[in-house]
């Protein structure tokens, strides 16, 4: 037929069929593929999990230090331990909050770097690895989460935690800006070591005030 051409003899030797992969080459390719798959799975384990990816960026310091994060600065002026907290309600009545543990009251000051912002709920990281959110027995309008943190001046307020007495040693106070509806990853936060060792904590607890009076709003 038409595909049979006289040129066939000349072109015959110039055409070399591709060599079929040998057994060892197939094995090598398979081993390489398996190694790549194992490497991919292994790499996944080194990646950050969701919690770590969206975690805050932490600046640390101690009591009395000014800890400057990227968007704000904060410092803890003093820490008190009390068995009850008294604050004025909206109607002027005094409300008292009691606990089976202790209240830790941290006097906090903060200022912003560029834009006004508010703090989210403060947290207390204790020495045994637990995380306590600020208590809701005290109205949030009395605490550091209420005022706007603005540029140019320091805003002072308190953060109140209700914790078991045994959890005090080694605890740190964590402050971060309030996150929006669409959560922002890598927010700045400050972690301030309250300086409680066993002796200090025991002394503070034994000397704890019966009632701590929260200053009313200015």
């Amino acid at each position: 037929m038409s595909t049979v051409t006289p040129a066939r003899p000349e072109t015959a030797a110039g055409r070399r069929a591709p060599a079929a992969p040998g057994r060892w080459r197939r094995a090598g390719v398979l081993a390489a593929g398996a190694a790549l798959a194992v490497a991919a799975v292994g790499l996944q384990t080194t990646g950050l999990d969701r919690e770590a990816r969206t975690a805050h960026l932490t600046w640390t310091g101690g009591v009395g230090d000014q800890v400057s994060a990227s968007r704000f600065s904060a410092r803890v002026k003093a820490v008190h331990v009390a068995k009850a907290v008294e604050s004025a309600g909206l109607d002027g009545k005094v409300e008292q909050a009691t606990t089976s543990g202790v209240f830790v009251i941290a006097e906090v000051e903060a200022t912003a770097n560029r834009e006004p912002q508010k703090f989210g709920t403060p947290a207390l990281l204790t020495g045994d690895g637990r995380r306590y959110a600020a208590t809701d027995k005290v109205d949030a309008s009395h605490t550091i989460t209420n005022p706007f943190i603005q540029v140019g001046w320091w805003v002072g307020s308190v953060a109140v935690f209700e914790v078991p007495a045994a959890a005090l040693p080694g605890s740190r106070l964590v402050l971060a800006p309030r996150n929006g509806f669409i959560g922002e990853a890598l927010l700045p936060e400050v972690e301030i070591d309250l300086g409680f060792d066993e002796a200090t904590a025991g002394r503070l607890i034994s000397n704890a005030k019966d009632v701590y009076q929260l200053a009313s709003k200015k």
């Binding site: 049979v4 066939r8 072109t11 110039g14």
Partner: protein
């Protein structure tokens, strides 16, 4: 072949029944019983293959990519007709072999298949030869393409073919094989001798397509990194639009979206009813006046966003104390100014420098009370505008 025997040239081919293409004068046993490896050793009748001409070509692929070799002494076949099919060698598995008796049970058995009437375990049977090559002439009435029988797998080197760069598909190879097989004569096998193979030109290396591969890799990486980046940027811009700032001179009026805006700023040390402030702080009393220029401006009567900013980027919180905007739409007059009274607490040293930014609302509030049906009808028909237009009032 199934049920009632019918003519071979009936329109639709039977795909599973072995075609009986032999001429009446040349009967043969059924195709399933053909022992391919035993009756046709082409290596014996063909010239000795040259190692250089077909190194590495597996024998099985020769049946598909090249024409099967032709044993010497065969007469050339008539042209324009595919060769008669035959069952390939792998079809001789027991499972396949059982197929023929079952299909044949209802019809007329072929005349020379008495041993294959049914499968029964027993000693190995031997079968007589069957001609598969050259193809037996088929009945004249059979339409082209009626036969689907493949070529048998031919153990031996493929015939050389003209070099057609870039076309290596199995389909073209099969087509070529069909054509050449009918016409191939023993003389065509001449180039396979060792002398000619050695004298041939050096083999051109296969095309590497390095640029294509590198380009593809670069493109893949660019796409894989670019799409998440673009998606993240779009998400970021959904919350942080690229603001377009329209600067208004001190005391001037800025017009956006059929509304004229005017801003007046006052400093004061104390506000009635407000808590006392520190010595280094000042209150700013800001009056933002909006005037609708036409009905479209009335539609754009959503509350604006008001910011107090220093030129260096620092910002302070503002709070709208009251507004003189009429509650009812029908009281909203075109050309009449309505005020927003805003207060802001700023440090004293920047109280004379800070500027007011007004971001008019892009929401279109309809003029009449809208029924829920109309609201749903309108929903989605208007393009939502990003609130990215900024009026910056200089001090």
């Amino acid at each position: 072949m199934t049920g009632t025997p019918h003519p071979e040239n009936e329109g639709r081919p039977d795909w599973f029944t072995p075609q009986e293409n032999r001429s009446p004068a040349e009967p043969r046993p059924p195709a399933e019983t053909w022992p391919a490896g035993e009756t046709w050793p082409p290596a014996e009748s063909s010239p000795s293959p040259t190692p250089g001409a077909h190194s590495g070509r597996p024998p099985a692929s020769g049946a598909h990519t090249g024409p099967p070799p032709v044993p010497g002494g065969r007469p050339p076949m008539p042209e324009n007709r595919p060769p008669a099919p035959a069952r390939p060698a792998p079809a001789r598995t027991p499972g396949r072999r059982r197929e023929a008796p079952r299909r044949r049970s209802g019809g007329t058995p072929p005349p020379q298949a008495p041993v294959d009437a049914g499968w029964t375990p027993g000693p190995r049977r031997t079968f007589s030869d069957e001609q598969v090559w050259p193809p037996v002439p088929k009945p004249a009435g059979e339409p082209p393409g009626a036969s689907t029988q493949p070529f048998p797998a031919v153990p031996g080197p493929p015939l050389p073919r003209p070099v057609t760069p870039g076309v290596l598909g199995a389909g073209s190879g099969a087509a070529t094989g069909t054509g050449t097989a009918a016409e191939a004569v023993p003389g065509d096998r001449a180039p396979a001798t060792p002398g000619e193979a050695a004298a041939a030109a050096p083999v051109p290396p296969p095309r590497r397509r390095t640029a294509l591969r590198v380009g593809g890799a670069v493109l893949a990486v660019a796409v894989a990194m670019g799409i998440p980046t673009w998606h993240g940027y779009v998400f970021y811009r959904s919350g942080n639009p690229a603001y377009q700032v329209h600067t208004v001179a001190a005391g001037g009026t800025g017009t956006l979206m059929n509304v004229a805006w005017k801003v007046g700023v006052e400093q004061t040390d104390s506000l009635p009813g407000a808590r006392p402030i520190k010595a280094d702080q000042r209150w700013l009393k800001i009056k933002v006046t909006r005037t609708s220029l036409n009905t479209e401006g009335v539609i754009r009567r959503g509350d604006p966003e008001i910011k107090v900013k220093h030129p260096d980027g620092r910002a302070w919180q503002t709070e709208v104390v009251d507004r003189s905007l009429p509650v009812e739409v029908k009281d909203h007059k075109v050309g009449v100014g309505y005020d927003y009274n805003v207060v802001s607490l700023v440090p004293e040293q920047v109280a004379g420098e800070v500027e007011v930014e007004v971001l008019p609302s892009t929401i279109r509030v309809p003029l009449e009370e809208e029924s829920v049906e109309d609201l749903f009808k309108r929903a989605g028909t208007e393009k939502t505008e990003p609130q990215d237009q900024v009026l910056l009032f200089r001090r």
